[in-house]
Symmetry: D2
């Protein structure tokens, strides 16, 4: 009975990579179901994602021998069983539209993952209509002068639960440089503007003041450099002079939850590869 | 035989404005064909645009008496015969996609205006395939140390031709503060980014370097403060990691010409009113 | 202390309508906050929506005298206190993404209305994660041969609860011609295709079979003529050859809930006027 | 000195295809620059597009030996030198916005092709502002009772000029079943509606009558079955009750030229593969 695996890799470009990889899969009788490649001609770096079917018993041997091949090409790579759900922690705050949306999509099977917990600086009752039953909830308030302590608790939770991805679903707290660095590459934030426009706080008020005719949202990996992390997904929507900052906030909620859900879906499907401070997203 | 007129106005908000205006039109047997209003609750300012039909002979009397009414409300206003085409000058440079697009739309009747001239810092032959026959062309090269002189020639042209609007159709020259100030409110520029992101030169290269997932363009009025003028129209389009800066430039051409044409159409149709450093655009 | 009212009307076009209406409001010291007009030159019919502030005590007198004015112009009109929430009933089925979305938006105040009940042909447990606490729920299964009986119960519910609008939030049941006729103009359906393409059942499978490059959704008023009612709102999204019918269903969920919520928001805000078998939607 | 080639193929899916193809390229020291694959799980058919660099002298040997490999897999395939421009004929009528747009893009290098001719049922003067200098023009009027004769002339032109693709740039003439069949797979039409909605003539009037809130355009291959050919590209744009049929025609021009240019670009870049009566479009 075959299982499905997804292999992602990047390495310096040179002839023969695809042939070597597909030859390796073939040797173990793996059957490729989907594949994307990309050559970044600017950096001369090669990126690949392959989904393949394989008799479950053969994966360990394939993985072990692939390591040797990967070394030869200088690959950064990952090989994952698609039937093992990823472990994701959701951080939220008062505005819970992104949290509610992710939970709903997860519940109907649109986002295949294990939720290792919902963490908030607001108590559980805040989310009484979101159907949190059965999901671990952690109330970690951020109080003056004790942010370091709160972040230590958060990090302990992340580690003890085997969390692979942290999602800042409008968490509204700036992570310390130390925590941001620690979570680099495994923490996605939704920023409520079309970056790099309107960095920082209150972007909808800033957008209104500037009189823009479209607003947007950006899902990006967190780095120590605030609002500068690698962008995963963005979208925009038309607004007009009629729209007050409150209208922009309302319209923005729709963009935010759509963009975050898309980014999360890409991540769960191993479609995002880092390319320096940018991303390669194999969208289809 | 009735003519069509368009009345635009803005003034401090207070009860009775619409009633007074419509009453005035009614007194002259004007028939309203289209009307838009907007109250800016933030600044308590009122904006209105009305298209009406009127026996041609009556317009002078209507206008004279309206002036008194307008004074009473503290209005900034404009009353224009729609059958008198606006006078527009087009400034272009080496990249002629916006120029070509505006000329095509003008020729098939989509942009009803009189073109008072095409001005370029490149010679006429540059545009040999654009069908410039019958359109005054002015070759005004910008040479080192003589920008002031060139701008003086340009301004003389604008004034002598009775130009009402100057369109910077990818003109690629930064106007001096003095000229920008002089043309404030009657000069539209197309900027090749989704402002306020990527101000300044080479925005597509900057967008590529930042790894954004959408690019855009912005049509705005020119002010002395570069890239900070009131925004009229913007649009964006999806791009991906595959797209090189050259691809972004190609994709951007489509956005630029679409956004500029839309802004120009709004202007010709008296749909744009200034609201401080923002615009009210009565789009429909 | 002033209240806010919204007046909508349509009538045969003729000079003086706006002046008469604004004059009437002025007489009662009503202050116009927002206004839209539209002349349909094809049918020579005039449409208007006005939001105004008025001392609460004055509304009855204003309404009574307006009736006379309205008769003179042959108006169909409605005058509503914005502080009195509309009464809306939600009909759902197994697929609950539209229901969940409407409930969430209602809960955070985005859709100001009273929910008179949720009706489904599936039992209450189906929606256990949607936070139905405090909302009347009615399980009205549709069983073979008893559709007429079920519809009678439904209609009784609609009438006894003073429901003003029925929302078919992916209800998945075709209303009988008799019920559809009865609810004409006060029942909104979300159809999971970009009408008039792909009428009828399984539109995503039909879209996939045809190989379209965009899919869409349509919110429309129900009429006896299936999938032919007046369209209120539509939207589309890009898909590709990679997308299976299941992918289209997933992508479609996002479009459906967005389009339905927009249509409902327009309705609650009295922005939709019927114009024969089409709609006038004063979107801004 | 290496040249760039593009190889496209489709065949029944089975393990080893990518490995065999990449192995073959590797044997001739071809270097893959870009590659896309797609498995249609419904039909179990595999599609692939590969761009590679190769020393020019090696291409004939590579091609000859590839034929054997291709036979083994039952491939339909094409191998093309990217430096040899494709030969394209443009058919136009009175509405010349698509023709003007394609010509402009071709002139600035956006659409690398040889134009084998412009054919119209209107005389050359019709297009005097489009800069046709140097492009063969053929005036082939369609007159009553002589359509068969006109089509024979057209077909002779297509054949004698070695035309690989015929573009119906709003040609406004329905090809006979015989000619449509003859040109199947090598003739692209732009239809001015979002198919399958509003087939046939006057789609913008039909869209207006139905009151849709978006209009669209569709680029598709021509088949004997009118408006039913494989869809290549589509797009839509928002309209409102304000828009008359004339407005829809104006807005539609922008969609049509954008959609047609995109489809043509895909074709010139060998990104479109037929999959029954649908297409696989390797868009990036």
């Amino acid at each position: 009975m075959p299982s499905h695996y997804v292999l992602t890799l990047s390495c310096p470009d040179r002839p023969g990579i695809v042939n070597a990889v597909t030859g390796h899969l073939l040797r173990f009788e793996g059957n490729i179901l989907d594949a994307q490649q990309y050559n970044d001609l600017e950096t001369d770096r090669f990126f690949m994602r392959t989904v393949f079917a394989l008799e479950s018993g053969a994966i360990d041997a394939l993985r072990d021998t692939f390591a040797t091949l990967a070394d030869g090409f200088g690959m950064r790579w990952s090989l994952r069983d698609r039937d093992v759900p990823r472990r994701v922690m959701l951080l939220a705050s008062k505005f819970d539209h992104c949290l509610a949306d992710v939970l709903y999509r997860w519940r109907i099977g649109e986002l295949p993952m294990d939720i290792t917990g919902v963490v908030s600086n607001h108590p559980r009752e805040t989310y009484q209509y979101l159907g949190l039953d059965g999901i671990p909830f952690h109330y970690l308030p951020v109080t003056k002068g004790r942010k370091q302590e709160q972040e230590a608790q958060l990090l302990a939770l992340i580690e003890s639960t085997g969390t692979e991805l942290v999602v800042l679903a409008r968490y509204m707290q700036v992570l310390s440089e130390s925590l941001a660095t620690r979570l680099a590459g495994r923490c996605i934030n939704i920023h409520h503007s079309f970056l790099p426009g309107f960095k920082g706080a209150r972007p909808y008020h800033a957008a209104h003041a500037r009189g823009v005719k479209l607003i947007g949202a950006t899902a990006h990996f967190i780095t120590a450099d605030l609002d500068e992390g690698p962008i995963i997904e963005q979208d925009t929507q038309r607004v007009s002079h009629h729209d007050t900052p409150q209208d922009l906030i309302r319209i923005g909620r729709d963009i935010e939850r759509r963009v975050l859900a898309q980014a999360l879906r890409y991540w769960l499907d191993d479609r995002i590869l880092l390319n320096g401070h940018r991303t390669v997203v194999f969208a289809v």
